[in-house]
Symmetry: C2
Subunit: 186 residues, 2 copies
Amino acid sequence: MGRWEGGAADRLRLAAFELYTERGYEQTTVADIAARAGLTERTFFRHFTDKREVLFSGSAELQQLFVSSVTDAPAAASPMDAVTLALEAAAGLMQPRREFSLVRQAIISANTPLQEREHIKLATLAVAVANALRARGVGDPTADLTAQAGIAVFHVSFARWIDPTNTRDFAELMHDSLAELRSVTA
Amino acid sequence: MGRWEGGAADRLRLAAFELYTERGYEQTTVADIAARAGLTERTFFRHFTDKREVLFSGSAELQQLFVSSVTDAPAAASPMDAVTLALEAAAGLMQPRREFSLVRQAIISANTPLQEREHIKLATLAVAVANALRARGVGDPTADLTAQAGIAVFHVSFARWIDPTNTRDFAELMHDSLAELRSVTA
């Protein structure tokens, strides 16, 4: 290789997002992305499995944050308290990434298989959170229900946060949605 | 054609379920299914788009039932009451199909893309229920949160109902899960 590759993943991601937005996701190839970033395809594949992963590589980080937040919640925290701590941590992770998230969301909204992938990622996240609750000694069906309710709150708050007219923080919208969930089930 | 095709869809479904269980989903072709059912591939394609649809053709019926139950709920019913009526209707639809559901679940559990398809179907169901709530005049985020909470209850109750050791009715497990959701969010 020889050439400097500092920030290659970021350059590739930026190039991919530009191309997905300009031409559409389907019409963009890995070769196009590498060329736009001024890097080789080989470099692309050192950072991402395929062109779809450029959009979803953040999911693993988010899932890790959810799981560690639930795991590290105080022993006295109720299942929903533990999930609320995870939601707060997730809101903190997302808040500085709103511009990125808006562009990403527009790309995903234009492509059904990408929307499906997003649903699968959320379902996988719910399973991981439920497993983390079970590891805390939470029984079933409480673990599954709490995890799925938490991910529903995340999902709904995310949609409100990402709305172009929104000016409120993710954390604030999330607490609103939690209160709303409490109210609809009461 | 000329030959009698009464119950062709049922014969094809039965043949497909047998083959998916015996050989695995990936190893079964439409030609295999048609041959086992004693029908032609052409007949198969009159009833199903592809071999995956044999497993998911019930989803449309379930979604229609959810939507019409929410739509037809009394005007005075709260969003969660409307969704509860839909869950009760769904439990009534599913209860006589437990044996079928057990076989289907075993096929789906053995194949990651089928599990992903199941997650997508549930997410689509939640969107349809949220739209039905909005059509009743329910605002956001209440519509989305109520729909997603309802589908979480359906999902968790389904997993408990389908457990080979379970002897309780779907409706009973569903009311348990609803009470549990109320308790974890309280």
